[in-house]
Symmetry: C2
Subunit: 123 residues, 2 copies
DNA sequence: CCTTATGTTCAATGTTTATTGAACTATTGA
DNA sequence: TCAATAGTTCAATAAACATTGAACATAAGG
């Protein structure tokens, strides 16, 4: 397995790529779940999203989320911890991420955003 | 030419479709141009976007923008007038459209948003 | 009428996309 | 050292997408 993957710099983050990333229901669910969890911890493992699909498909979506600058991946042992790049996104596109997450929250059931993912309390 | 095309009701507007629509550079440019023009007039003709591509390709993008609920089309003679469905979008996804348009404005040159479209003063 | 202007629709093309299962890599812990 | 765990990568597939030009429909103006 390669080392920690490449991420775009803040300046390299592009609006169309970000919007396209967020337009996929699975990726939107990943981002939403990360945002929900933020009050508890800013990071989640890949495995915490297993309710959203098969491992290899999730890896594909994780890669897209990384490439467009929405997420950071940190390697720790056999785990990868993901977090939203809130500050970078806020710097590039003020208010955008929040607006999307709030919009998603409004439609949470319609979007089946929480399919199979109980939000776990940190210990 | 068929009569005024179908538009989704406010409640039928879906977040992923809206984001996907806005993720295409040409459609983003159309929305941006409509938003810029709003201070002068809330409507633009299809032909006003001819700087963005070939007619048939634009018609394709117009259809997408209509189907996802971002635009309204009004038929008047041989012209079609388009306007942003601001109120419906604000009701469904508060703050989202503004955040996207502001983000686009920030990157206007990078996105080549105004390619071939001088904003015309109303008379 | 006939012509012109405005858009849409259609068919064809090539590209990108999401999804799957299998193979692979790397790390942990027994 | 061996097995189990966590993720990624690859190849294959089917579906969706953007783009083009030609054909079409409709309305306006001479």
């Amino acid at each position: 397995m390669s080392r920690t993957p490449l991420h775009p710099t803040r300046e390299q983050i592009e609006l169309p790529m970000v919007l396209d990333c967020l337009s996929d229901p699975i990726r939107l669910a990943i981002v939403y779940q990360l945002a929900q969890q933020e009050r508890v911890s800013s990071e989640l493992r890949c495995g915490d999203f297993s309710g959203l699909g098969a491992k290899s498909n999730l890896a594909y979506h994780f890669a897209k989320l990384r490439e467009c600058g929405l997420m950071q991946t940190r390697v720790a042992g056999t785990n990868r911890f993901m977090r939203l790049r809130r500050e970078d996104l806020e710097a590039r596109f003020p208010g955008l991420l929040d607006a999307v997450i709030k919009s998603a929250a409004k439609d949470a059931e319609r979007l089946q955003l929480l399919a199979g993912c109980e939000v776990v309390e940190a210990d």
